[in-house]
């Protein structure tokens, strides 16, 4: 790490060390004084209180002034650290992160997009953060960076992965039922490997069903193996007898292509019984050809042929 340029990790950890260090000293000092007084002046050893002044100006001035200097120094040091978090190196790679219920999508300048954040190791990366629906927060503990995804504005973080590897990435701002599964990774690759990945299959619409499901965040809530998540599983969806609530009326329908398409574009039109009505509409979010691919895939062999699951 020593031969690498500056990282956000060092900027923040230095401040942690400074504040925790002083805080620990103060806590030990206060506690030790308290314990010593309690032991020394316990009524058993010290049956009568001894007079001592009940205020002393110089002492009180000192113990107001010293904490003032301490907190001012902490403030200053911390602000210096924060400035490094917002000072993006000019050569940073630009990526955009979109938060949505309940997955992340990362897109690169050349049109490549992914549900994991691939980055070249050692190089600064600037992630612009947007949200499609509610607040989210992009948080990478290993790099000490976090910023909310706020509908209507674009925020950012920058970081530099110090070593090749996989780092956890969380959503840190509560966003609803699957907040805690809005988890993915940062994959730091050697520069050459990263470039190869970036150039591979740039055209997103070339992607097949499974890739589209994950890119649009469907698998955040729907499983492919029959297990129950926030929404009904895709396994055995096509042709399933489904109890739904349409316009407040209960009815049973057989899932066909039309139903699947409607469920993607107007999820509130037919609400499947037993699941929370939380799915966002994808109207205008998915290009028509991709929508067709998705519907075809959901109604095709590998998913529909399986035994009817929950």
């Amino acid at each position: 790490m020593t031969d690498l340029p500056f990282t956000t990790i060092e900027a923040v950890d230095a401040v942690f060390l400074y504040i925790f260090g002083i805080a620990a000293l103060l806590l030990v000092g206060i506690t030790a004084t308290m314990v010593v007084f309690v032991v020394r002046y316990h009524r058993r050893r010290h049956p009568q209180p001894q007079p001592s002044p009940s205020s002393k100006l110089w002492l009180e001035l000192v113990w107001t002034l010293i904490p003032t200097l301490i907190v001012l120094s902490m403030f200053w040091y911390s602000w210096e650290g924060y400035l490094k978090l917002i000072d993006v190196p000019p050569d940073a790679l630009k990526v955009q992160a979109e938060g949505r219920k309940w997955s992340w999508n990362f897109s690169y300048e050349n049109g490549r997009s992914s549900d994991r954040l691939y980055v070249p190791v050692g190089r600064a990366v600037r992630v612009a953060i947007v949200s499609r629906d509610v607040l989210h927060s992009l948080y990478i503990p290993a790099f000490r960076v976090k910023k909310d995804a706020v509908p209507g504005i674009t925020t950012y973080v920058w970081f530099r992965a110090p070593e090749v590897g996989s780092y956890d990435l969380f959503c840190a701002e509560y966003c609803g039922v699957s907040h805690s599964s809005m988890v993915t990774t940062v994959e730091a690759l050697p520069e050459a490997q990263f470039s190869a990945w970036l150039e591979k299959s740039k055209k997103p619409s070339a992607a097949g069903g499974p890739a589209l499901l994950s890119r649009h965040g469907c698998t955040g809530c729907h499983s492919l193996d029959g297990s129950r998540r926030v929404g009904p599983s895709f396994l055995g969806l096509f042709g399933r007898q489904t109890q739904v609530l349409s316009d407040g009326r209960e009815r049973t329908l057989t899932a066909n292509q039309d139903y699947v398409r409607r469920s993607i574009l107007q999820p509130q039109a037919d609400l499947v019984q037993g699941y929370p009505p939380v799915m966002p509409s994808y109207q205008g979010q998915i290009p028509p050809d991709e929508l067709q691919t998705l519907v075809d895939y959901l109604c095709s062999e590998p998913l529909s042929a399986a035994p009817a699951g929950p």
């Binding site: 103060l26 009524r43 009180e60 978090l85 629906d133 509908p151 209507g152």
Partner: protein
């Protein structure tokens, strides 16, 4: 006649008091007890919810509940603990019970308003409970109700908002009552320099209640309108701004932290001198710092928003102000410790809880420095570090002060003493359980576990298991403490009018105090901590 007088205000006439004699009483002591029972019940409910939350977190993946249930549980836990326990807790219960006694007044300035504020509180609580079983089901927004999620979720958020709005009014009325009482009803000789520090703290708190709570009311109404007719104030698609909501919310909710902690500091400032047999060191500094905290604390709300997308200039200003507001709290801690110097200290239960307060509050305050610092807050914001930190302040601080107040003042209120040994054991169990519960939570947050997480990655499990075990120890200690207090107040030995040899005015009266606390205003002749004068007005 003499027999009935033994029970003082608890039985003012010669017949057994009925429920109606309590819930429509305008006697500040009865209203205080109504508050005490209600906040106590909500505290126990909140603890049960907290223990369930911890149980779910003992292992990754589903354990005892679904994700939606977990989200509803932490929302309910937060709302109950904040709005039904900790904000009304010490002022509502011990403020009402003790404030008029401590300044030698007959009652508070507006006794009927006082009853109204309890009723509003109960009405709000009832509505909050109704929101669980009606409409779209239990709210799932967290106690902070952040938009846009809270304006979209189909759960019954609107009713919960209305509940919070009404409870806010209850809090404002208590504030108005206390400020007026302290200004107008002090007994002759009770000048400002002789006010007990608990009264000073209630005074500062009351101003925050009056000035800050209306902002909460406005915020809740705006959010309700947003939900009901789609006003769009917080919707960026229509010129609104979700960050505006956060400003409005914290303009109240940060000062609310001082509504929670100042009365607790007041309790501790009462107890330490009595059990150290020394006048408080730096009475003026403690009184002044209460007011300073209340004033400066209204300018630091932005420290909850360092990663919200707010401007860097705002971060600079709020970080600086936050660090400055730490100073008066530090001064108080030094004063409490200095009061022990050359005293004659006895470690009876109220003192044990008060000393534990100083320790736990120090941890809460010092970890708060990490959150006030912009660079480090970015890493720990919205993680379990924050959850651990605010439990240290609110539970380790205010919660422990509440327990200290129970052990200090209940013998006055009921005229009976609890079992000291059981109380001491309960204290030790609670203290150990508390640290076992919340210290690991701070550590797991430092390692990066976000808060409000139903599920987590395997590397976080070990610390979560320890925290959950801690919650059981803590719950056991609380159970022992409450059972012991309950038995003591029913059947304990007579406590006498001044069991701790304290010098404030409430100890001049018999225990329980008579229905007419001071029929003649006493002539006050000494300061609140002139311990040689204990027992004289």
């Amino acid at each position: 006649m003499a027999k009935q007088n033994d029970r003082g205000f608890l039985q003012a006439s010669d017949r057994q008091p009925l429920l109606f004699d309590w819930i429509f009483s305008v006697d500040h002591k009865r209203i205080g007890l109504l508050y005490l029972y209600s906040v106590g019940a909500f505290f126990l409910a909140g603890v049960a919810l907290g223990v369930l939350l911890r149980l779910e977190l003992i292992a990754p993946g589903p354990t005892i509940a679904t994700a939606q249930t977990y989200n509803a549980l932490f929302t309910l836990h937060g709302v109950v603990m904040i709005f039904l326990f900790i904000i009304p807790g010490i002022p509502g219960a011990f403020g009402n019970l003790m404030l008029p006694l401590q300044i030698g007044a007959r009652d508070v300035a507006f006794p009927r308003l006082n009853l109204l504020s309890w009723w509003l509180y109960i009405l709000g609580a009832f509505m909050a409970l109704t929101s669980l079983f009606s409409g779209g089901g239990p709210p799932d927004t967290g106690w902070t109700f952040y938009v846009p999620f809270s304006s979209e979720t189909p759960t019954n958020v609107s009713l919960a908002l209305l509940a919070v709005f009404i409870i806010g009014f209850s809090s404002i009325l208590t504030g108005v009552n206390f400020v007026t009482t302290i200004h107008r009803l002090r007994a002759p000789g009770m000048h400002w320099g002789r006010l007990p520090l608990f009264v000073w703290s209630l005074y500062a708190t009351a101003w925050v209640q009056i000035l800050a709570t209306p902002v909460l009311g406005i915020t809740m109404v705006l959010l309700m309108v947003e939900r009901l007719i789609g006003l769009g104030l917080f919707d960026p698609g229509r010129g609104g701004d979700p960050i505006l909501y956060q400003h409005l919310f914290w303009i109240y909710s940060h000062p609310a932290v001082y509504i929670m902690i100042l009365p607790a500091m007041g309790v501790v400032s009462e107890i330490i001198p009595v059990f150290a047999r020394k006048p408080t060191f730096g009475y003026k500094a403690i009184a002044a710092s209460s007011v300073a905290i209340a004033a400066a604390g209204s300018l630091v709300w932005g420290h909850h928003m360092f990663v919200s997308g707010m401007s860097d200039t705002a971060i600079l200003v709020f970080s600086l102000l936050t660090f400055l507001v730490a100073i008066p709290s530090a001064v108080k801690v030094f004063n409490w410790v200095a009061t022990l110097y050359r005293g004659s200290i006895s470690l009876e239960p109220p003192m044990l809880f008060a000393l534990a307060f100083v320790f736990l509050f120090s941890i809460g305050g010092l970890t708060g420095l990490i959150l006030g610092s912009a660079a480090t807050d970015v890493h720990v914001h919205d993680t379990h570090f924050v959850v651990g930190h605010f439990h240290y302040v609110m539970f380790g601080g205010t919660g422990f002060a509440f327990f200290a107040a129970l052990h200090y003042w209940l013998p006055k209120v009921f005229g009976r003493m609890y079992n000291m040994k059981a109380a001491t054991i309960a204290w030790a169990i609670i203290f150990v359980g508390f640290n076992l519960l919340y210290f690991p939570m701070m550590l797991v947050g430092l390692h990066g576990m976000p808060r409000r997480y139903y599920d987590y990655l395997p590397q976080f499990q070990q610390l979560n298991v320890i925290a959950t075990a801690g919650s059981w120890v803590l719950a056991a200690g609380l159970l022992l403490m409450f059972v012991n207090l309950y038995r003591g107040m029913r059947r304990g030995a007579a406590a006498g009018s001044n069991p701790w040899q304290a010098a404030t005015l409430e100890w001049v009266l018999t225990s329980p105090p008579p229905a007419e606390s001071f029929s003649q205003p006493p002539q006050v002749t000494h300061g609140p901590y002139d311990l040689q004068q204990a027992g004289k007005p």
